[in-house]
Every structure is written in C-alpha cells, then in structure tokens.
Symmetry: D3
Subunit: 125 residues, 6 copies
C-alpha cells in the first residue's frame, strides 16, 4: 500500500457554542494545518500514486472557500460548531468528491482519500 501526502493551511475566524468550549466561545481564530494523504494499492505506469501537483491543487481548491474567512458567516457552516474534528470531515468529503470527479488525474476507483485530523494546536507539535 502506498500513500502520498500534501500539506496546506488556512487562517480562519470562528466561535463555538457550548459551555464545554470555555473561552473559545468568543470570536477568535486559528491557523489550521491540513495534511491530506492519498492511498493506493498499486503504482500507476509512471511509478506514482497520484500526480502530486494535482493533489496540491485539489487541496488548495477545497480550502479556498474557507481561507481568510469568518466561518460563522459562511452559508453552509454558520449554524455549526466548526471544530477541528468537524472541519476534518468537511474537507475529507470535499476531497473525496473531487477524487470521484476525476480531478486527481487518476482513475478514482484505485485511490482512496484519507485526511488526517488538523494539527490545530501548535502545543501538540
């Protein structure tokens, strides 16, 4: 099994609802680092899992509607707690859809997109 990873990041503002979030209930922000891994059982004729340039562009396209935004104002997200966990799935779903639509340059049936959780907290590094 082979995996290729690409990394990008977004800078967003948002707030949370619920006492469990403590001070993060106020409007604040975060730099979210996104690592997306693309996985395949076999390499293609070029010896590649995927065209890494297309993978970078797909990830950039998925992140563009979030970058430099206040997520509390975005139509699809405004009534949601946009936790790191929620955003991981949101981005994963978009990448998987891009893969199915062929934007990753390889027959999507041989590729599975696997998005690792954001490293939202620099302390965890």
């Amino acid at each position: 099994m082979f995996a290729v990873e690409v990394r990008d990041h977004v800078m967003i503002a948002h707030s949370f609802r619920g006492a469990i979030f403590g001070p993060a209930q106020a409007l604040h922000g975060a730099t979210l680092i996104v690592d997306a891994a693309f996985i395949a059982e076999t390499l293609d004729a070029n010896g590649l899992v995927i065209d890494i340039g297309k993978a970078h562009k797909s990830l950039e396209a998925v992140l563009a509607p979030l970058n430099y935004c206040n997520l509390d104002d975005l139509p699809g997200l405004k009534n949601t707690n946009t936790t790191t966990e929620f955003l991981s799935k949101h981005i994963f779903d978009q990448l998987a859809e891009a893969a199915r639509a062929g934007s990753l340059g390889r027959d999507a049936r041989g590729t599975v997109a696997n998005l690792r959780p954001f490293q939202s907290s620099p302390r965890r590094r």
Copy 2:
C-alpha cells in the same frame, strides 16, 4: 552570553486595512506561536539565567488579554494593523516591562528580554 527560551501561543481573530493585505483585509484568524528568549551575561547562584517557571507565567500573563479575542475589538488595538511584526513589539514591550517590575524573579538589570518574531505562517516551518 546565555539565553533561555519559552514558547506559548495565542488564537486570535483580526483583519487588516490596506490593499497590500489582499484577502487578509477580511476578518480571519491565526494561531500565533510566540518564542521569547531571556538573555544574561552570567548565570545566577543556582546556575540559571532565569526561573523558567516564572518566565512561562510572565509570557502567559502577557498573552492572556489577546488569547481567544478578536483584536479588532480590543480597546488598545482596535485602530491598528495588528500584523505579526506589530504584535511582536507589543509583546516584547510587555515582557520587558514585566522584567523591569521584577516578575521574572531575578534582578532585571542583569537580564535582557529578546522576543523573536512570531512564526505566524506554518508554511514557513
């Protein structure tokens, strides 16, 4: 010459004014990693530059009024472009004042606070 560094971070929302900032003119956010170095020519009787626990607490105290905030709403900052460069100096000045006030636990005359610029962009790591 000896240096001891402490690291902390803040999660803030803000926006910029000026065409040079492009999409960052919109309300967005950032996780800002702060490295503060304390420098001394000689070690004290314990073989230390500074009490690292007090250094951590001083940095935490300086960052607390910024953390989980929208900087555009803070009284002292609301009419300012809170760039990474500006915030570096803002935090440096507060730490230097804390040192002069003795909160770092050592005779402040023998210690110089030196704050490195934030690493605001994960791409730069």
Copy 3:
C-alpha cells in the same frame, strides 16, 4: 473515524539489565515525549471526539507518578526493564483504565485510546 491527539512529556532516570543495552545499563536518563491519540467513529453533539482539556489532564495524571523519578526506585517498576516499548504499554493501560472510569468525559464505550510509542530518541525526529 476521528482522532484527537494530546502531547506531554516526562523526565525520568532509569537503567537497564541485559548486555543488549550496552552503555544504557548504567544509570542514565531520558526526556520521553508521549503522544496519546483518542479515537471515535462518530462525533458527539458538540462536534468533538473528546474534551481535549480532560484528555490533557488524564495524560498528565497518568504521567505524574513517573515524572522527575528514578524508575529503578518505583515500587511497581523496580524489577522491570522500563524500555520505551514497556512504558508505552504501561501508559496506554493507565489511559484506557481512565477512559473506562469515565475521566475523559464521554461515554467510554464509544472511545478507544491508542497510544503511539514514545519518541525517546531525538535523533529519530
């Protein structure tokens, strides 16, 4: 599947018995970085895997009896080779027990604790 990771570290002294350990048979020490991942199939009503504050506290509580200790002197460990591998399992078992006891704040049946091996050797980073 979702995962949230927390990181902490301990500073311990210990020694090993067995020729395979070479110079590490002498009393020496290590800073051990511990990454603990908590995994769930679904997010809870807040959009979270787990309360990350409680996860940090649970890990800190599990590590406290080891931190700043000579493991060769601890009642439960004194006749054991406290290798990184052994300590991984030791910490994993304690975290899993804490999860079952409910200290992670979520119904433990929906959560699995997965501890990655320590990164005990900075060369490996």
Copy 4:
C-alpha cells in the same frame, strides 16, 4: 501492537521520463528522509520490539548502495522512474529480506517491517 522507528537519509541524483514530471525530467537531486517502522505483537524477553542498533545498521546497509549516487547509472535502477513511491517499495523489500535473513536480531516471524513513504519534499514538513 508495538512499533519502533529508525530514521536515516540518502542524497541522490536522478531524472524522470514522462511529461507528467515537468522540470523533474532534467537531471536533478534530492535528499530523501527514510523512516522505517518495525512492528511486533509482543515484546521480547528484554522488553524490546527489536534491537534498535541492529535496525539502524540494517537501514544503513540497505541505503548504502543508493547514497551519493546518480540512480540513473545504477545497474538495477537505470531503466526505472525512481520516484519516491518506487524507492519506498525498493527499500521496504530490502528491509523485509534483511529481516527474513535474521539481520534484525529477533526471530523474523514475530516481526513485520513497515516502511513509510519518504518525505522527499521539505515543503510537506
């Protein structure tokens, strides 16, 4: 399940054939960081997955024929696109063979070698 990782690197020159590789069709080079993980279900009598010294030496031995080379000139590789993906498998196969031959110091039947893809691009770090 337990895992122990070792890291090493090689500095190689190579070129690729195929329009998909763009400017990398020219003779260029790369520093390739190799992380190899060795996995076992149980610890041995010493509390170890594997003798980490032997693991380091095995990885070094597998990498030696590649290091400081132009891969385009190596007999076994000269007609191949030596992509990061291809080289991952090449190195994995050699390590697995070393494990079967007993060079990792533990009964190979209880150990599985798992090689993670190279991190060939510093941008991805």
Copy 5:
C-alpha cells in the same frame, strides 16, 4: 529590530572536487531548504517589515535558475565546489541585488537581507 523570514527549497544535482568530500565527490543530489530573513529597524506605515508576498517571489526568482538542475552544468557554477556555504552566499548576493533593485517593494536602504545557511542535512534537524 524586526525580521521576517521566508522559506523555499531547491532540488539539485552536483559533485565536489577534493578528497575532503569523500563519497560526495561522485555525482549525487540534495534538497536544500533556504530560509531568508529580511531585517529592518522600523516598521513601515502598514506595520510591516516587507511585503511577504514579494519576499516569497524574490526568493523563488533567485532559486529558479538552480532548481531541478545539475549545478555541474550551469555556466556560472560549473568550475566551483557548490557547497552549502558557497550557495548560501550565492543566493544571499542575488537577494541583496534584488533588494537594491527595489523588487522587495520597500525602500531598500531601510532593509538588510540576511540569509541563514542552508539546512542541507536532514540529520541536523
């Protein structure tokens, strides 16, 4: 004093002449990570040291003639030991020239370019 850093990398092939270089006398390659720091005594009217977008583009432009190349074949470098140290100065000189020519967007007299040595060896990280 303020500093802003940008990072990029190049993937090059080259060889060295001189017994001191040992196996690196053969044609091999390297991924060279380049950190360039731009320094100023005061911030400009926008609260910036420099337009970070222009700094990224300047560094990219300086690196472009080296990237995906065999340095042994480049007209200006072919009779030179292109050590990491040599390349640091080569890139520094080009960046300083770009700054003097105004491509960094700020009055160059108020800015000093300072290039840190390459981190050519991943082991050193």
Copy 6:
C-alpha cells in the same frame, strides 16, 4: 559571515539542589539536544567553513564522558547544579578547546565556536 551547525544528543541522569528546582531536586533524567554552530568570516579553499565530519566527531567526543551517565557521580560535576545553562557552557568550553587544539581541521584562528543553549524541554519545541 558563515555558520555550520552540527547536532547530537546525550541521555543523562542528575538532580538539583535548591528549592527553586521544585520536583527536579529528585534524581531524574533528560535527553539533551546539543546544537553547535561553527562560524567563520571567510570560506576555505574547498568552499567550506569547516570539515563537517570532524565537527560531528568533535562534538561526539565532547559529549561522550556525559552520555549514559548520572552527572551527580562524575568527578568534575558532582558538586554542581548541572543545569542546561551550566552544561551549555561546559560543552562550549570543551569545543573551543578542541578547536584551539586543531581537532576541527582548520586553522582555529579563523573559526569561532558558538554553542546554542540545549533544547532540554520538548515542550519548548
């Protein structure tokens, strides 16, 4: 001005005397990462600051008497608080002496050894 850095680490046990050290007054341990930078105004005839192989060996030789030791038992250190700051100077002095004795392979008058403080706490990374 040019700088070349080498990195190594030691695994030591020690204890501190003085209430300021809190729980670190007990016998514990640490993995200490050592970065040593060698600085020169000009490059030598090979385009180098220093023979990096010799620099690695010099650092390894300086660290060997500390590695896998309980510093509280070492003749020259047993009555000392072996803080990170103290050890930085201890190692710096040994490296400077090695440079003066010619073990770094270049005329020592043209080279200055500069040792950065240990990164003893993984949290600070």
